[in-house]
Amino acid sequence: MPDTIKLEEKKLKVIGTRPVRPDGVPKVTGLARYGADYSLPGMLWGKILRSPHAHARIRSIDTSQAQALPGVKAVMTSADLPEQKFEYVGPERVAVNFWHMTRNIMAREKVLYEGHAVAAVAAISSTVADEALRLIKVDYEVLPHVIDVDEAMRPDAPLLFADMITRGVEPAPGKPSNISKRIELKIGDLEAGFAAADEIVEMDFKTAPVHQGYIEPQGCLARFDTDGQGEIWASSQGHFVVRAFTAQLLEMNIGNLLVHPAEIGGGFGGKTVIYIEPVAAVLSRKTGHPVKIVMSREDVFMATGPTSGAAMTVKIGVKKDGKIVAADGLFKFQAGAFPGSPVMNACMCSFAPYDIPNVRSVGYDVVCNRPKSAAYRAPGSPISAFAVESVIDVAAARIGMDPLQFRLKNSAKVGTPTVWGPKHAHDSYAATIQALLKHPGYTAPLGKNQGRGVASGFWFNNGGESSATAHVNEDGTVVVATGSPDIGGSRASMALMAAETLGIDYDKVRPIVADTASIGYTHVTGGSRVTFASGIAVIEACKKVIGELRARAAMTWDVDVDDVIWEEGHARPAGKNMGRFEPLSLKAIAAKKAVTGGPISASASVNAGGVAPGFASELCDVEVDPETGGVKILRFVAAQDVGRAIHPSYVEGQIQGGVAQGIGWALNEEYIYDQAGRLLNAGFLDYRIPVASDLPMIEAVLVEVPNPNHPFGVKGAGEVNIVPSMAAVANAVSHAIGRRMTELPMSPPKVLVALDSGRGD
């Protein structure tokens, strides 16, 4: 871990400024190259045949007519992908099972959701490929399907896997079910806690699965040589993970696969997994040509992972003085067609903001006939927060306490135990509540049909493996390379941290995202980890460069390197008694690089720890139209502990983006299925994410409590902002209409039903 730069002692010159992002101009002029923008001579078009059924056994696939069509160069099915061992590997919370993954890439025995890939073709044009897909004959035995999580858990539900025995239950159940896993976390004595409560609030909730809604559909280009070496250009949140998963599914050596990071048009967790890369790779291997596959928007909705829908029950017990004494949460999450929902995150994050002595969180991971769920911004936490923060709101009202003061009284601090074991080591939650209490919006008057809601949230943030290289160019500029795809302005953040460390101007640093062969392993851009972890790698690489610059200056001055310091971008004598030397700038040292030892360059790889979690508190004002049930967001204030905002504009952008997604999740977004389990709204016209005209200016309040474990105080800032948003909107709508809203989305028909129902808190 690098030395902590004492922020109060060191005046920052570059960090905290708001320069234009290095990738801004190409992105707004259309020159940036995304996954679909790459082409090669001789390239073929790949297309994927998808299941029309939600659940069916594949009796046979006849590809003969498709293969005979002029212009078709190859057809593939799951038979072209090697079988994988059935085992869960990797971290318990996000364990990967390649037996499942290869079946998600291309169905084998059964199709498990509408849109499940069944076969693929490579042809000389997109039109010919489409025609070839129509010639593939698949004989299906249609099976009963199940979409809803509660229905999927019923003993008589149609089974997706005839041999799935619930993990985490002792003794193991004797019969298979759709319940992949049960989780239980617990501290204290729940029974005694509830017995001591003056008031107990218990409520049921339901949320819809929602898609990340990234604007750029998945796209990739693959090229394989006859010697078995391959290259992929793909839009993803982590090209090293694309490489690892693709190599595993194709039984390749990782070293034989080179993955180039395309620009990414949004990911939000959804591009931490792969769908099309192994298919393009197999088709390229079979044909000897480069193959490009680009998903349509319909493909994205039908076949890529949204986050889970959930059914939840939350109960809390509270004393009249406002102290929460017990909390119990039941979280049932849809995993989609294969196990692996973020329910463990939900269990861990649900009550994390609070100091509660007796807590239990129980989670179920449940498969159903929908696309396999994927990560989505603080995966799991916003879902459980919707339930918990709604109950907190009701409990505060029940004892007649202001909802922010209620949260403040119960806020977790350093030393507060968590339900997953360790004690909190950081306590910035209270500061986010205080920021809202001080905000004039919290006491602003409300009009007719208007309501105000508040909510809070927790997210871990992440560190982990990152690599960086800093090259000093001969004119004194510096190239900083990392392995982190830039989704939220990380090039700018890396350049700012490099410039601050080296003591040079921001515009003298050129940050790039390097391919898998040009930089050391770097984990995905996800978990709010890049500015923290890749930032540490950049700082470490720059410190090594400074060491080399000092050595070159020492050589020039014929002094010992210990007699040279680096200050404000210059090598300077360490003391007055070592002689008079004019300071040497980085540019001056770079110009003499040849005679002082050659190019100046340094790399650093880290497994960054010491992350500090994120807390956010949010305030929402709404107005409900009692005739239509439509909800208008009047005001939204999001106070988030961001550690140190390296580039405040992009941190604010993260907060605004997370809130906008949370508002869409709260009010409009849902998958609508027909009786046959077919998706009816696989497009942005009918699956309605918020647009600018739906939203007020979202006010981001940056609460800066620096992380002492990062040289510049960085905490992750990309995810926790979405955690409270749905609950804040739900609490506001509930207060506006005088009815408790417990199901998402709170679309106009549901608000009208609530208005008509007379159902109260």
């Binding site: 318990e92 997953w420 074991g421 360790p422 004690k423 080591a425 996800g526 978990g527 720890g609 992350v611």
Partner: protein, 86 residues
Amino acid sequence: MAQSPARVVLTSGFSGCYTGGVKEFEIEAKTLRGVIKALDELYPGLGEHLEEETTVAIDGEIHEVGYHQPVRPGCEIFFIPKIEGG
């Protein structure tokens, strides 16, 4: 003078899978390498699972599992599921 051992805790899921339900240990070590080594000697193979599948909280501070992490006498070490986000 003997140093006070660290309190080492596994999750229920982990202890259920690998230690027959034993969740808590007292281990004397200077680094996380020593902690993992001691646990691996008690339950052969456990060390690899800890290295591959967990994140560690030392006195509440969350770190990636790395051999070099210092272990203060009397500290609390929780091996928790590795964190992934979106």
